[in-house]
Symmetry: C2
Subunit: 356 residues, 2 copies
Amino acid sequence: MDIRDVARRARVSTATVSRTVNRVVTVDAQLAKRVWKAVAELGYYPNRQARALVSGRSRVFGLIVSEITNPFFPEIVQTFETLAVEKNYEILLTSTVHDPKRMELAVRRMIESRVDGVAILTFGMEDELLEHLRFRNLPLVFVDVGPKSPRVSNIRVDYAHGIRQAVQHLAAMKHEQIGFVTGPLRLRSAVARKDAFEDSMREIGLPVNPEFIVQGDHRLEGGKLALQTLYKLREQPTAVLCSNDMTAIGVMRQAFELGIRVPQDLSVVGFDDTRLADFMIPPLTTIQMSQTELARLAFDALYKEVKRETPSPNGTEYTLKTQLILRSSTAFPPSNPASNPTKSRSTSRNRTADRD
Amino acid sequence: MDIRDVARRARVSTATVSRTVNRVVTVDAQLAKRVWKAVAELGYYPNRQARALVSGRSRVFGLIVSEITNPFFPEIVQTFETLAVEKNYEILLTSTVHDPKRMELAVRRMIESRVDGVAILTFGMEDELLEHLRFRNLPLVFVDVGPKSPRVSNIRVDYAHGIRQAVQHLAAMKHEQIGFVTGPLRLRSAVARKDAFEDSMREIGLPVNPEFIVQGDHRLEGGKLALQTLYKLREQPTAVLCSNDMTAIGVMRQAFELGIRVPQDLSVVGFDDTRLADFMIPPLTTIQMSQTELARLAFDALYKEVKRETPSPNGTEYTLKTQLILRSSTAFPPSNPASNPTKSRSTSRNRTADRD
DNA sequence: AGTATCTCAGTAAACGTTTACCATGACCTC
DNA sequence: GAGGTCATGGTAAACGTTTACTGAGATACT
């Protein structure tokens, strides 16, 4: 069952079948009709491999993530897939699982499949490594860490905006002892978040207590340990901002085990706004870094680069905003007499902090 | 940069390069060495499309899920990918998002990519539809709902085992009023879970109160609504078993909003043992249906079928067990004087109910 | 009417591999 | 030493498309 069978049945040449199927406008309406009829009758599906081979374009985009089981990624994969399907692309999904072997393998897989471009969404975890393993000047898109070179785009995340909102939100409720649990500091993005926190604190005139900044690992365990550390201090924070949602969940978990109530005794803010945030008890106030938006930017970057007649000399820069999403894990600090848990808010829908 | 360049440089024919790269044993060690050297020097990567075209095997398996954002699936995708990579397969991931259009598209994508087999892991959600759109007698693997025909395998899930354990666990703590929140009852798997619950109750001599069985939707909202319904009854359950983890989380969330404490006032048990279960506060006791095991079974089913010289006439049946995982969302019912929340347990590691 | 231009469909050469078949030479066997 | 058997490498034909080129007929122009 190939294009020749269709051609025979429609009494045309294979070229005409090809043109029809690819919706080339120059083919006569009558003929096209005959061709489509034959296609339907025979149940003909064009062979992707043959198409790719001769046309030199595979219509596949690679997508590299650190691990799909990280709650940050499923949404990205979903959106990326949807976009790809719309444009008749396929996606080659690989996860590095933080393993150098797997990273190398990922690159090899991309090349052997002759992908038309690849999105590296690993957040500075392993981007350098991947970049090192030179893709043969394919369209590439990184977040934050991409090199300035032809055909490679970058999505710059504006971490500061959302973090500033969060700090101001806490300050407005008269929190003065605000802690921060970082991610692993070899991550560019983790450092950026921490810096943004410190800047925001200074900006609003709150002291940055170095003891209140403790390192986590962007996972549950790190959050738990961090809170333990914080609660061994002489003075303790009344609010803690976390470098990602998993960390915040760890903090909440540890609080639960220590009998500390969230948000009455301790306010907690996450980062990412993964779906998890809204599943928590209480629902987690967090800084949104839209995963769907990120996926969309990444896909568009690749798609546009592929469409370009002449490669972009220095890539393109995109920006992704972040913003505070208010839920129910923050409230006035316990010492404050106006104590009034944010709880009541939780009945209304999630709100962004921008206007409301 | 193709196989001919390599052949030229190694001063052999393309056939020899091909054989070397494919590790055919008959090629002389000396020659092979020359070939590998040339491969390395030129940075040669074989072209998958060309390989697939001529060999007739794409080395790609399709994987159809309902939605990647459903916490049940990421783990599956991860495992499936890992297994595939090991065997030098790629994976074509599609999600139906419960949309008939997307299902049809998924099938089309599979066929156009000439996949060597496909795993349909959508849990009776849309399997019938997918099956209807006949794959051209490819190796297929379903869970629960596959038809008996050549080359299609089935993974039968033993829902009863885990559910029985859960009911007995609750009964052992003297719960007598046990509720059940079902999934959407058009799902085979949801019905199976409900039936298993009723059977287990009867088996242990507990009454099945129809009022205590309320329908959910396998999502957060359904769980919340279900608990509202249950708490409007004259008599209320002291424990509720849920058809999946999301439902259980919904129940917990609603309990939180109603001021009902879990597990002191209400014991909650989930189903699936998604990662979420362990993130909850308190950590959710749930029935595990191992996602990694499921992925492994699915992959192996396809792989073995592909390797067979002669197609299996009636597919193969695999079985997946389920079992109770004890965490901290269950305790003695409040009325019972021996009231003693399971809390203390939570400090030790998760345990299975089989032996401990 | 003759020629130039345009439109549209067909012909056939790629694309980069694998692999059936053949050729060569080494080694046995009698 | 002739003939047979083996081991191994080369030749070339596929695989199923796309697409540059060609050519035939229609239309327009002078």
